[in-house]
């Protein structure tokens, strides 16, 4: 479990917009049980993100919650899309968020994309995957 990393973007109705799981190379597919656990933890942290984002001027909220060995970091975009990441290392997460934010802005400018709708773009997915590898797993 350690070394893996879960990233979720959450829309205005607390609905997941984009989800991605990063597994370190050579690790097998995580068990089903853990997959829902990731969502559970991320979901449970949303209240804390809501609390924290008004206390800071920064978009990056650092660690908002902790569950076992997992740190929940959050990033709030200007449009109030919450980016939440579950991570055990905390390394490089800020850069990752910034890059994903950049990516998301470009994506959201697509007139065919509706804010809050789930992102189903393979290009976006691939790019996030790349960013994850670059900042988090390396």
């Amino acid at each position: 479990m350690s070394g893996s990393f879960y990233f979720v973007m959450v829309g205005h109705q607390d609905n997941p917009v984009f989800e991605m799981e990063f597994l370190p190379a050579g690790k097998p597919e995580s068990k089903d049980d853990h997959r829902h656990l990731n969502q559970f933890i991320a979901h449970a942290a949303l209240d804390l993100v809501d609390e924290n984002m008004w206390l800071s001027n920064n978009m990056y909220l650092k660690t908002v919650d902790k569950f076992n060995e997992w740190f929940v970091s959050a990033f709030v975009t200007a449009g109030h899309i919450l980016c939440t990441a579950l991570d055990s290392s905390l390394y490089g997460i800020k850069n990752f968020f910034n890059d994903v934010y950049d990516l998301y802005i470009k994506f959201a400018m697509n007139p065919f994309y509706e804010i809050n709708a789930p992102i189903r773009s393979t290009a976006f997915e691939r790019k996030v995957q790349f960013l994850g590898k670059k900042h988090l797993l390396s």
Partner: protein
């Protein structure tokens, strides 16, 4: 005389202290009314430092004076501070005053002065009793008061007050009471202002010293609290609260500074390890125990905070602001935990959790104690935070003490529990008796696993309930309850929590947690034995794509196992099992006649991971008779493009983001509008309108989950027992799309609505309660229908024509032997034909059989072959419509069935030049008692005209036969016959040429008398070209000619002017008209004119008129005149008229009209028969020559006349006016009809010069 009364500061309310000295007995008698009346009136309190003045009610405690109780210098206690000293005396005796009272008073005064207390008052009580008693040696009563005043109040006369007869109820006593109370209040306030001001100054000074070493917060705390007490005493709770808030802020600042490295020495005592975590104590107004601890500097941080908060809480409740308490409490609890961390105080693990838990419950208890339940429920949004925090802490305690681990607490856990319980100390005396004290709750919760869970879940339940009531979305953190609840004993409660959780996850669209939670729900439901719910959840899980196939199969198997083993029927929602995606009708119109086959193909998307065998799949039908009978076919056509197929839109089957999309509302229906100016069509404005604003702008109800398919609990199902059902037995549904074909019942005509869909698996029934959009099919019943139509248009009369009989049998089955009875008519006989095949179609050809047609005199009977219902029977018959001869009309006949025979009337049709004849047929059908009346329209292919031509006395009859149809005909044997006059010879002058229009001419020759009336029949044979001679059909045309013989001949001559050989333009010429009678009076004429001249030679009057419409001639003088003509042969009459030619050349003669002149005595006008106008409509050539105006003929034929002179048309009937009547064609012959005369130009007077060179 002075006695001491102990002061009680722990009294319910704090009161300013008044010390009374003097006559104790007197005071005791007055005390009650004084204490009561003092606070009755408010006083305005003006305060220092610009604070707003306040109205306050003063209450006081009265204490007996003791010298040793006077405050020492530097004593800061305000609570025990005597604000006013009162000396009571009722002395009225000068001696007594001098001997004892004065001395005592002086001592009292001195001691006061020694303590620099300037707030005092002396009250002299006077009663009538004392006056009476000392009547003898009494001094004026004022003298004692004056004495006292002079002795003590050297400049302050107001310090001595007289109270008269205090115990009597008189106006005087009342007055003096009021004066006394006012004085007391004023003095008391003055004292307050002065002393408080001094105290506040001291306090500030002390606060400014806080940076100096040796300053102690605890000391300062006591001082400022003293001030707070005083404010509380004066019921200025707001001000009191401010004091505590200031202390709170000051302390917090110190702790924060400590965290930043700036330590204060006095903080040391607060850094001591926490040994007691007994929680807040809010049940006493002042917790003296803790206060003493603070005073001694021994209080821990928690003690200080607890005490401070308990004071704030008390004041807030006095201020009726209980919700602020809860808010502050939550802040305080979080704050304290942080402060302990900042101060690096060592705390036993879990101790803080205990403290927080107890405190939360204590606060909640306090709030509950001061609010009624309704108020509490309305404000649960304020308390839910505390509940949540308490539950959180209880949970962490449970984790700490091993109460939530599956193995139960270890010995280490138990030790820790004991330590924690020790720190709670003994239960406070206030709560010992109550069963639900926080202390007991915590102790019980920590004592055993079961008790812990009970308490934990209770508080969890409270939160959920409160959140619901407060309308807050269930906070995500609280979903964690479910875990612990699910793991341990209480599945019922756990299930409720889990359902809540699922609702929350579903509405937000987190699919994986939904799946996981549902799995837990399934476990709980299985444990609880809620079969129905369990099966529902299992079905949901079996169709959940997030699970592995094995898990899905497991849940599916569960359903199947239960379905086999259950004893009662269980009804579940269809949505969890499969989805209806499509329904298709065959035939696609979804409308059949009764008894026909209608198939409905259902497409079901089965969500199960394995194939499921279904015992029965049924669709209940609602039958509606109302719309039966309407023609189903037209209904079907008016439906959507593909009426037979209904697509059922489905939400995303995975509990996914569909909900968020749905929350976004329906798509906008936008439309472009353009506003163009009407004059030049230029664009004024353009815009976009939303057509469905009412839908888009509608408030979305966030409360209900949009996707009912994900609703876990099955909807309330009522299995409606429809009499009719679509049923299929034993179907195996494969995962994915399945197609099932039903045969729909179509017995009765009407509308069938598909209502519910059931799938039965053993005892489990999956029901789709409503099929939406609604699906209907129609069954209609049709009456038999017989139509007769021409096989080819148009039907021509006179020739055999084929007509097509089409019989739609409808619901009627044609049996063998059924026959159509056609009433024969003379004008349209049915031609027998050898073989008459009938085709039965449906709509494909079913069979073919020969018809037998039997004709009797009146009826033609066509026996039909047996035909099943809703088939079409077609056969052809040949009929002939006989062309009517002409104007003659036979009398009405009756048909065989008694109906009045409708004589076919010919009429002209606007579309075709042919004359149309409607032939009615009356058919008796076996299915109806009524005859079917049908009309066929035939067209006469010929048009015939006749006319009489005259040449002097010779007469010619011309018949014009015109073929107006599209068919070519061969005509033969044209002949004209006359019925009446045998001697009459009709000589044909015809050639044999064949043309499109044929003119035939006969000369009428007679031997002796010219006939006055001729009954002629024109007959010809015709046939389509290139046909045998035998196919020739006769064509007859009958007509009557009347008054054909010529009566008068008109001869005109133009005489050139005298001396001229020719007429000359512009010169008058003479027109000589000679009218000659050619015959004797005929019978008709004689009858006509007999009335006018009964005797003498018969004569008739004629009117002549010369008119030239072409402006060739100018008639000079009279153009018309009347002549009397004897009715004898060769009688002649000559008229000369002056005319002038206007042009040169060969000019036609001016027209000369001769008209019958009927004198006014001839009352009855001859009305021409209206029917004769058909024949007479055509103008003969001679007529034309006579009448220059084209429409004169029609005017004449309708019997209208020109009046002489004026030419106006006037109503003629019954008016005694002379009338003019034209002659019939051929009665007047004009010899000079087309004659011309040469007219020379006028004499040329001009000289033409011709030069020759």
């Amino acid at each position: 005389l002075t006695t001491h009364e102990s002061s009680d500061v722990t009294d319910e309310r704090l009161r300013p202290l008044l010390r009374s000295a003097g006559d104790q007995g007197l005071f005791t008698s007055l005390y009650t009314s004084l204490a009561q009346q003092l606070p009755r009136e408010p006083m305005e309190w003006r305060r220092t430092y610009g604070r707003a003045p306040k109205m306050i009610h003063l209450e006081a405690n009265f204490v007996q004076f003791k010298e040793e109780l006077l405050p020492k210098e530097g004593n800061k206690a305000l609570l025990t501070f005597p604000f006013l000293h009162i000396y009571w005396t009722d002395c009225c005796d000068t001696e007594a005053y001098k001997s004892t009272v004065k001395e005592d008073m002086t001592r009292w005064h001195n001691s006061l002065r020694a303590h620099s207390s300037a707030d005092w008052v002396i009250i002299v009580v006077e009663t009538n009793d004392t006056k009476k008693k000392n009547k003898t040696n009494i001094l004026p009563r004022s003298s004692i008061v004056d004495k006292i005043r002079s002795d003590f109040c050297n400049k302050q006369n107001d310090r001595c007050v007289v109270l008269s007869d205090p115990l009597k109820d008189s106006s005087r006593s009342q007055e003096s009471w009021n004066a006394l109370l006012l004085k007391l209040r004023t003095l008391l306030l003055m004292s307050f202002t002065k002393n408080l001001g001094r105290f506040e100054d001291d306090m500030r000074t002390l606060r400014e010293k806080r940076t100096q070493p040796g300053w102690s917060f605890c000391e300062y705390f006591m001082v400022q609290e003293e001030l707070a007490f005083v404010f509380e005493m004066l019921q200025q709770f707001e001000d009191a609260l401010v004091q505590y808030d200031e202390l709170d802020a000051l302390f917090t600042q110190y702790v924060l500074n400590f965290g930043a490295g700036d330590t204060a020495n006095w903080l040391g005592s607060f850094c001591a390890p926490v040994r007691s975590w007994s929680g807040l104590l809010l049940r006493r107004p002042i917790d003296m125990e803790k206060r003493d601890g603070i005073q001694r500097g021994e209080a821990s941080l928690l003690d200080l905070r607890s005490y401070l908060f308990s004071r704030q809480c008390t004041l807030l409740i006095f201020l009726l602001r209980p919700w602020e308490v809860t808010q502050r409490a939550l802040e305080l609890l979080h704050n304290c935990v942080q402060e302990l961390r900042l101060l690096e105080v060592s705390v036993l693990e879990g101790a803080l959790d205990c403290w927080v838990f107890l405190s939360c419950l204590e606060v909640l208890h306090r709030i509950e104690g001061c609010c009624d339940p309704a108020q509490l429920a309305a404000n649960c949004s304020h308390t839910v935070g505390l509940w949540a925090y308490a539950t959180d802490k209880l949970k962490s305690l449970g984790e700490l003490c091993g109460l939530v681990s599956e193995k139960g607490p270890t010995s280490e856990d138990l030790n820790r529990t004991v330590d924690l319980l020790a720190g709670l100390g003994d239960e406070r005396p206030e709560t010992v008796s109550s069963l639900q004290s926080p202390y007991k709750k915590l102790k019980e919760a920590l004592s055993s696993v079961e008790a812990f869970e009970r308490h934990y879940l209770v508080s969890g339940g409270v939160i959920q309930q409160e959140e619901h009531e407060a309308g807050i979305l269930v906070s995500k953190r609280n979903l964690k309850f479910i875990k612990i609840a699910g793991r341990k004993g209480d599945p019922e409660r756990a299930e409720a929590f889990l359902q809540e959780a699922v609702k929350s996850y579903t509405s937000e669209g987190w699919s994986l947690p939904v799946t996981h939670t549902r799995k837990q729900i399934a476990e709980c439901q299985k444990l609880l034995g809620r079969t129905e719910d369990y099966l529902q959840t299992s079905a949901l899980l079996a169709g959940d794509g997030n699970l592995t196939t094995e898990e899905r199969k497991h849940f599916c198997q569960e359903i199947l196992t239960f379905a086999g083993s259950l004893t009662h029927k269980v009804t579940l929602s269809m949505a969890v099992f499969s989805q209806l995606t499509r329904l298709q009708f065959r035939p696609a119109t979804a409308s059949v006649h009764s008894g026909a086959v209608l198939e409905a193909e259902l497409t079901l998307r089965c969500l199960m991971p394995v194939s499921v065998r279904i015992q029965q799949l049924a669709v209940s039908i609602h039958f509606d008779l109302e719309r039966a009978g309407t023609n189903g076919r037209s209904k079907g056509a008016s439906r959507a493009t593909n009426p037979g197929t209904v697509e059922f839109s489905q939400a995303d089957p995975s509990a996914g983001p569909a909900s968020s999309v749905a929350a976004a509302g329906p798509p906008l229906e936008l439309d472009e509008i353009q506003d163009r100016s009407p004059s030049d069509n230029s664009l004024n404005s353009t815009g976009v309108v939303c057509k469905n604003t009412h839908l888009v702008m509608r408030r979305h109800d966030t409360g209900s989950p949009p996707d009912t398919a994900n609703c876990v609990s099955p909807p309330a199902l009522t299995v409606k027992d429809g009499a009719q059902m679509l049923k299929v037995q034993d179907v195996t549904l494969e995962p994915g799309n399945n197609s099932i074909t039903f045969t729909a019942p179509s017995g009765q005509p009407g509308t069938y609505t598909l209502r519910q869909l059931y799938a039965t698996v053993g005892q489990v029934q999956f029901v789709l309660p409503h099929i939406y959009p609604s699906v209907q099919y129609e069954v209609y019943s049709q009456e038999p229908q017989l139509t007769v139509e021409p096989l080819s248009e148009p039907l021509l009369a006179g020739l055999p024509q084929t007509v097509k009989f089409t019989l739609l049998t409808g619901h009627y089955a044609v049996k063998k032997g059924d026959a159509l009875q056609l009433s024969n008519t003379d004008t349209m006989p049915i031609l027998p034909s050898a073989s008459c095949p009938a085709r039965i179609t449906s709509p494909a050809l079913v069979g073919e059989s020969a018809l037998s047609i039997q004709s009797s005199e009146k009826v033609t009977s066509i026996s039909l072959p047996a035909t099943p219902p809703y088939h079409t029977l077609e056969f052809h018959l040949e009929v002939l419509c006989i062309i009517p001869h002409g104007p003659d009309r036979p009398a009405n006949e009756r048909l065989t069935n008694g109906e009045v025979r409708h004589r076919p009337r010919s009429y002209s049709h606007p579309d075709t030049p042919m004359t149309a004849i409607d032939q009615r047929m009356s058919i008796d059908c076996p299915w109806s008692i009524y005859s079917t009346l049908l009309a066929l329209t035939f067209y006469i292919p010929f048009k015939t005209k006749h006319s009489v031509l005259s040449a002097g006395n010779r007469k010619y009859i011309q018949v014009c036969l015109q073929n107006v149809s599209d068919v070519n005909f061969t005509l033969a044997e044209m002949q004209l016959t006359e019925k009446q006059h045998e001697l009459l010879e009709l000589q044909s002058l015809n050639t044999k040429t064949q043309q499109h229009s044929l003119f035939c001419l006969w000369e009428v020759r007679w031997k002796d008398d010219p006939p006055s009336c001729l009954q002629c029949v024109f007959s010809a044979n015709f046939s389509p070209p290139k046909q045998d001679v035998s196919t020739f059909k006769p064509f007859h045309y009958q007509f009557q000619l009347e008054r054909v013989s010529t009566l008068y001949s008109v001869r005109a001559e133009i005489l050139p002017p005298a001396g001229e050989q020719h007429c000359r333009c512009g010169l008058l010429s003479g027109l000589e008209v000679c009218i000659t009678r050619l015959t004797e009076a005929t019978e008709g004429e004689a009858a006509e004119d007999s009335k006018t001249d009964a005797d003498g030679p018969k004569s008739t009057k004629l009117m002549y008129e010369v008119a030239d419409s072409s402006s060739n001639w100018a008639v000079c003088g009279r153009s018309s005149g009347m002549v009397s003509m004897p009715m004898a042969a060769d009688a002649a009459h000559k008229v000369r008229i002056e005319v002038m030619p206007l042009f040169a050349g060969h000019l036609p003669f001016p027209k000369i009209k001769v008209l019958k002149y009927l004198p006014h005595t001839a009352a009855v006008a001859i009305q021409p028969d209206p029917d004769s106008c058909v024949e007479n409509d055509s103008l003969s050539l001679l007529d034309k020559a006579l009448d220059d105006q084209g429409d004169t003929a029609s005017i004449r034929s309708r019997g209208s006349v020109h009046s002489v002179g004026s030419g106006d048309q006037q109503p003629q009937r019954g008016v005694a006016m002379p009338r003019l009547e034209p002659f019939d064609a051929g009665q007047v012959f004009n010899h000079s009809h087309t004659q011309q005369v040469l007219v020379l130009p006028a004499t040329d007077d001009h000289i033409m010069e011709v030069n020759a060179t």
